[in-house]
């Protein structure tokens, strides 16, 4: 793995206990991420993408594996060190109205982030709040508003401003536009892209929306039932999807046709996403895979190289 990466995740696993059963939320995931780049994590429900994001941030503790951030292994960090670490890694959430305190004004919310880390004086923090609001495209007056007075798009900008107030190196975006109207989604996505350039931010972008992930990411990892089934540079993944699951996923996207001839037929896809409480044996995708062989039912496929920087966990990849 490249040593100049800002973040290295090595063989991280997380199991939850649900009603006495084991739920393998994240299984043996590894990746590295260079500073200033974006890694997209895509997957459907139960893929473990959000859990993975929280493991990286250590909002959850992993059972196995380690997370190295900026050259330091943070897996064993104690509470106090962790709190200091938060300055460098931040997160924005899918539902900003749920992640903000309804009884704090926007200004107070952003200022509180800095106050927690004792950054600057009260006056300088308030000055910075105004600057940050401008950066995310909000008028200064918004700082006196309470969250319920703002729209979803505005709130997500507030969430971004609050995260940026700490000057983080890594920003985890957990479905940041999924709850927004389409015309607002673009605005927020482009804002994130512009901010990345300006501050040399590193993103982990988590979404079920492949188009949005493709738009922002340099590298994409496709998750299925807690495992990375395919990982590749963004354009490569869309040009040459190698894992049957990635192919199904790409074929399920309904694009707006440019001409009537391009209108898509509805595809029949076999099977359902299995419950992560009861994952299939061998390759987790085999019950839905039209190429599955006997080996797929019993043997878990190893990660194989498709081409330079392109990996897929499938027995059929040569």
């Amino acid at each position: 793995m490249p040593s100049n990466s800002l973040l290295q995740v090595e063989n991280v696993s997380k199991t939850f206990r649900v009603r006495g059963k084991k739920l393998h939320a994240v299984e043996n995931v590894s990746f590295a991420l260079e500073a200033g780049k974006t890694l997209g994590l895509v997957g459907e429900s139960g893929s473990g993408k959000s859990t993975l994001g929280r493991l990286v941030l250590r909002l959850l503790d992993s059972d196995k594996g380690r997370v190295v951030f900026d050259g330091t292994d943070i897996t064993k960090f104690k509470k106090k060190d962790l709190r200091a670490l938060r300055r460098d890694m931040q997160i924005i959430f899918q539902d900003p109205s749920a992640s903000l305190n309804p009884r704090m004004t926007v200004g107070e919310a952003i200022e509180d982030a800095m106050a927690i880390h004792q950054i600057g004086t009260k006056a300088s923090r308030q000055q910075r709040v105004s600057e940050l609001l401008e950066k995310v495209g909000l008028p200064e007056e918004v700082k006196y508003a309470y969250p319920h007075e703002l729209s979803g798009g505005q709130l997500q900008r507030v969430g971004i401003a609050r995260a940026l107030s700490l000057n983080p190196k890594l920003l985890i975006c957990d479905e940041p536009v999924s709850a927004l109207d389409v015309s607002i989604q673009v605005q927020v996505i482009q804002l994130l892209r512009d901010l990345q350039k300006e501050f040399n931010l590193t993103y982990i972008f988590i979404s079920h929306n492949l188009a949005v992930v493709e738009y922002l990411s340099d590298e994409i990892a496709v998750l299925y039932l807690g495992e990375v089934v395919e990982q590749a540079p963004a354009d490569e993944l869309f040009r040459k999807p190698s894992h049957p699951y990635t192919q199904v996923l790409l074929n399920s996207i309904l694009k707006i046709p440019n001409s009537p001839e391009q209108r898509q037929k509805m595809l029949s896809i076999q099977g359902e996403i299995p419950s992560p409480l009861n994952p299939p044996s061998g390759c987790a995708f085999h019950p839905r895979c039209s190429f599955a062989t006997d080996a797929c039912k019993t043997v878990k496929p190893e990660r194989r190289q498709v081409s330079e920087g392109h990996y897929a966990a499938c027995h059929l990849v040569e």
Binding site: L250, L254, K255, I256, P260, M266, I269
Partner: protein, 328 residues
């Protein structure tokens, strides 16, 4: 052309809030013909869902239909008593919603729920209803219907629950299925499965579908006809092929351009400036005028009527022709 199956004319709906009123639907008219899939597309607050739900008597308590008619099989649904509407809903008009969990009864076996749909409308005898339930479950893709009959909703996945909702909605073989964001809560692969199922059922039964969705991709690929709504009004209405070939309304064009799709990587995307607002005043002029780059004084003062723009193509814009020249 033959008689429309459902004909909505000049519908107005308002919602009373604690301090003000929301003008949710402001003069909507459209027809649904037999064997047709109509997609009503819009963002939140466009009134797309309210339009349909109010016409079948499923309006929230604080909502009020201030004028309009909704003719179905010769009857004005808006003039019917709740009992009479209940009779039509579920028998002649099937309805499915975004979240099947909230419309299914959590403590009733799913087989019984499908059967009940037929029994309450006296569509079939108990014995027939049971047989038909098993057949329906098979048809909508629930494996092993006999044993699954006894399961409860929580024992199914989201996709399966939506299938069950479809079975209930279709139990009495309605001529019209109203689907309110039926796949929005589902994963993409499951969405594709449900849409494929709906497509298949529709063809087999010669049933009409009206689908409310915020997803242009779903609407343009699934539906024969598209209505684009904004601010409680129809902006554009066209056969899908026409719509794809020459999208004409500045809002539809802007929205289509602003959607990030696969393959857009590296491209600059132009968002529609601003955001839609709740309509707390009686709308004057075009609701989109404030965000429209073609807007003139006239657009703010005079509400554009929905007029013929081409074959099977209607548009509510004063400047459609000029917009078209620019788009080329």
């Amino acid at each position: 052309m033959s008689q429309p199956l459902l004909s909505i004319d000049n519908l107005h709906v308002r919602f009373a809030r604690s301090e003000d009123e929301v003008y949710a639907v402001n003069g909507i008219s459209f027809d649904v013909y037999e064997n047709e899939a109509l997609g009503i597309v819009g963002e939140s607050g466009s009134g797309k869902s309210v339009t349909l739900m109010s016409s079948i008597g499923l309006l929230r308590e604080n909502g009020k239909i201030s004028s309009g008619t909704a003719h179905f099989q010769g009857k004005d649904l808006l003039k019917l008593k709740p009992r009479q509407l209940e009779d039509i809903r579920g028998r002649d008009i099937g309805v499915i919603f975004q979240d099947p969990m909230t419309s299914l009864n959590p403590i009733m076996r799913i087989g019984d729920q499908i059967m009940e749909a037929m029994l309450t409308h006296r569509y079939a005898s108990r014995k027939e209803a049971f047989e038909r339930t098993l057949q329906l479950m098979h048809e909508i893709g629930i494996p092993d219907p006999k044993s699954r009959f006894k399961n409860y909703p929580h024992e199914f996945s989201g996709g399966m629950r939506q299938r069950i909702m479809i079975a209930i909605a279709l139990a009495c073989e309605p001529q019209l299925l109203i689907a309110d964001e039926p796949t929005t809560a589902l994963d993409v692969t499951v969405q594709m499965q449900i849409l494929a199922l709906l497509q298949d059922l529709r063809r087999k039964r010669g049933m009409s579908v009206v689908m409310v969705t915020h997803d242009f991709g779903v609407a343009t690929n699934f539906c024969d006809k598209i209505i684009v709504m904004y601010g409680g009004q129809i902006m554009e209405m066209a056969r899908t092929d026409q719509f794809i070939r020459r999208t004409a309304h500045p809002y539809s064009i802007g929205l289509k351009r602003s959607i990030i799709e696969v393959g857009h990587r590296g491209k600059e995307i132009l968002p529609i400036p601003g955001a839609s607002k709740a309509l707390t005043e009686e709308p004057v002029g075009c609701p989109f005028a404030a965000r429209c780059s073609f807007a003139t004084e006239r657009c703010f003062q005079e509400t554009p009527a929905l007029r013929i723009y081409g074959e099977d193509h209607h548009i509510a814009c004063h400047h459609a022709e000029e917009v078209a020249r620019h788009a080329v």
